[in-house]
Amino acid sequence: MSDAAMTVEEREANLKGIGCSRKRTEDARFIQGKGNYVDDLKLPGMLFGDFVRSPYGHARIKSIDASAALALPGVKAVLTAADLKPLNLHYMPTLAGDVQAVLAEDKVLFQNQEVAFVIAEDRYIAADAAELVEVDYEALPVLVDPFRSMDPDAPVLREDLAGKTEGAHGARRHHNHIFTWDVGDKEATDQAFAQAEVTIKELITYPRVHPAPMETCACVASMDKIRGELTVYGTFQAPHVVRTVASLLSTIPEHKIHVIAPDIGGGFGNKVGVYPGYVCSIVASIVLGVPVKWVEDRMENLSATAFARDYHMTAELAATRDGRITAIRAHVLADHGAFDACADPSKWPAGFFNICTGSYDVPTAYVAVDGVYTNKAPGGVAYRCSFRVTEAAYMIERAVDILAKKLAMDPVELRLKNFIQPHQFPYQSALGWEYDSGDYPTAMKKAMEATSYAALRAEQQERRAAFARGETRELMGIGVAFFTEIVGAGPTRNCDILGVGMFDSCEIRIHPTGAAIARLGTKSQGQAHETTYAQILATEIGIPADDIMIEEGNTDTAPYGLGTYGSRSTPVAGAAAARVGRKIRDKARKIAAHLLEVGEDDLEFEVDRFKVKGLPERQKNMKEIAWAAYNNVPEGLELGLEAVDYYDPPNMTYPFGAYICVVDIDADTGVTKVRRFYALDDCGTRINPMVIEGQVHGGLTEAFAIAMGQEIRYDEGGNVMGASFMDYFVPTAVETPVWETDHTVTPSPHHPIGAKGVGESPNVGGVPAFSNAVNDAFAHLDITHIQMPHDHWRTWKVCEKLGLVG
């Protein structure tokens, strides 16, 4: 159809812009086996690295003998701390202001810690050689219980910090203490508790879990000694930051380091940090002058890179007898493992845990977090959530249910009574955040209607009576969660990574034919950026999304950005995309005015063109304008049609949602069936409903996994118990519930297109919904809180304890 014959609606549909369920442009390569992941790379002369790892949780290294390994044909080198120390690379800085051993020097501090790096001609020889490296250890007392970390007689873990009484976040009061971070008005909160009519207090534990993306962490480092240039391909959620860190560590100038993140097979926070494997591969390539590849196996992934959570939260609520929450007080013991390698903005050692006042209008609150060392793997990443937001949401949503039980109130009624009301936005929370927008009562009521909540409660009453009469062996639980997230880090005034502000960026070049390439500082790991960013640009500029190629991950070509995690891509880089589009449109208006020989104010924009007001037949579409941009622009205007935008967000965004989960628990086996799960998400303006729904499905499935089975447990000897897919729960299609999705739309007032981000909401809201459902099944009985994960065995143990087992 010719352009002129198309209606406005047809032209709009042709753009495939904001709001349309555009099919993904990424899919063509993935469904044909033509994705390009790190382990797919094969460079000429490439060698393969593998680690020798510690079998002990805590031990002194007496000696390392690599001679047998070096004698094996095909082995090129074995690196140990002794090799890295002269380069000052045996330790590396962490994002949290600590250091982490790249290769253990005198001691190992967790099981599977990196001790030596073997480089060989192929991965089989490397694995053989790693077996031949003889390490003599002297076992030391192991500390696995964070509650014992600061005992006076607790073993000293970090000898490298001896005498260091100041950490990155203030005073250290014990050799295993990392930091204390507190926020809020302690005095007013204590007073509110002293005067409270009702209080609750509960230790709510969020166990240590792992993001476990399908692709493990990997890199290929390639040093070109003649040019003095280093290229690193890797599974990097934040490639630009990796380049900066690599430059600071290696002293290679940043412009001579090329960091490239190709396709990434899921990240979920696992691929934010810098790991010893990257550093060792780079050093090995520099030493040997050939490319070196390192790929984790699954056991290494689950036991050595990037755990999440391990928050032990003592939550207290104060309330009136009629259910008004008057104060929140919380103390968190945060188990950070052997090194503080938490991936948080530098000034936030406990992330944004102070979002723990949730969706409620709480007058006063006080929170203190103590970070401690244990003999466990370092990490503390945000597993599909913004920094420590899922811990915070879990704590408040469990605590509200516990209060509801104490007050004998319905959990929804208690929430409705305490919600921040729509007229209160922008809302200043007691712990320092400014919530941008929300309409919580509408979302909650919509969820109640969609699930026939009142009928569910009536059914539950009948079933409890039937259970008491011995007519059924099933307990029915209804879990409600209403979460508020804080995502889109973040304003550079308070958010940075190692001193680099957490802005993000978009650059676009529109070619003479009207097709374009746009590059952004973020990096998709499956979130469909190539599809959705093009939709934002299409709407803003008026060229079809199909004519815009999106590229990320190559630090040579993409503008600097802080990467993809914490649901920041849409709130930050998505905003940069919208603003870059507006810059293009501004220039296009000048060119159109010139071509149409009218003033700029005489023009109006319509979908994909400028029209002369009152003379709509006089018009220039974006394709014509793009052509003119390269040969016929008004005097004084530069040729070309390009723009770049670095966006420093004025605030975070605050997505929210109402989730309702119904479970049926077999009292004789503990087997818990999810009968129904309804998820209403409000992520502001919706860019691609299909992609949003997919994100919600995936996030809910991860929430299901966490709530119902995931745990990286350590035994008393420091042995990690969950380091394979045999032991660590990743749900299959059989266990995974069917998801019902719904939405409301409350745009963010400060985001250029009103979008808030959605990828992590379902994980944040899903975990408390499941946990509340399981707890609710026992709410009429003598039990207040059941710790996660709610696997069948643990649930059966609860039934047994309550005398329910037949």
Binding site: I31, Q32, G33, D39, Y124, D263, F268, T701, T732
Partner: protein
């Protein structure tokens, strides 16, 4: 290490190669045949990212030795589309139904689904879920994968019906 010669049919093409006896089929496919569609996700046969078709059965190629493929018919995701480039109904279904996100499990998932539909051309939702339970996905929550497989089953059954008429 001494190498052994193997001969097999790979996506319909006859292949001869020298492999170490311990070489895993997944490494042979990815590193020697340069077919990087199948992926390695666990190396313990739990995740199914390495699933390929071997003599009419789905196998996890991370726990099959290349020498065990001697004389076998092996099919990988690279051979799923028609030689003229026309996508298989499953490939089309995965794109239409948003059955993939990061794409890492997708080749294994497609090859498993392809075999599932050979075994059961008209599976129920429960049968699809059971049929792909050896393949893990961390992104999609499976719901759209189930829809994608059902899309393909319908399309393939309609085509067969049309051919029969």
């Amino acid at each position: 290490m001494a190498k052994t010669q193997i001969t097999l049919a790979l996506n319909g093409r006859q292949v001869e190669a020298l492999v170490e006896p311990r070489t895993l089929l997944i490494h042979f496919l990815r590193e020697q045949m340069l077919l990087t569609g199948a992926h390695i996700g666990c190396e313990t046969s739990h995740c199914g990212a390495c699933t390929v078709d071997m003599d009419g059965k789905s196998v996890k190629s991370c726990t099959v030795f290349a020498v065990q493929a001697e004389g076998a018919q092996i099919a990988t995701v690279e051979g799923l589309a028609a030689p003229d480039g026309t996508l298989h109904a499953l490939q089309e279904g995965f794109a239409e139904m948003h059955g993939l996100q990061c794409g890492f499990c997708t080749p294994g998932m497609l090859m498993r689904a392809q075999r599932l539909l050979q075994e059961n051309p008209d599976p129920s939702e429960a049968e699809i879920r059971m049929g792909i339970s050896g393949n893990l996905c961390r992104c999609t929550g499976y719901q759209n994968i189930v829809k994608a497989i059902r899309y393909a089953a319908d399309k393939m059954n309609a085509a067969q019906k049309e051919a029969a008429e």
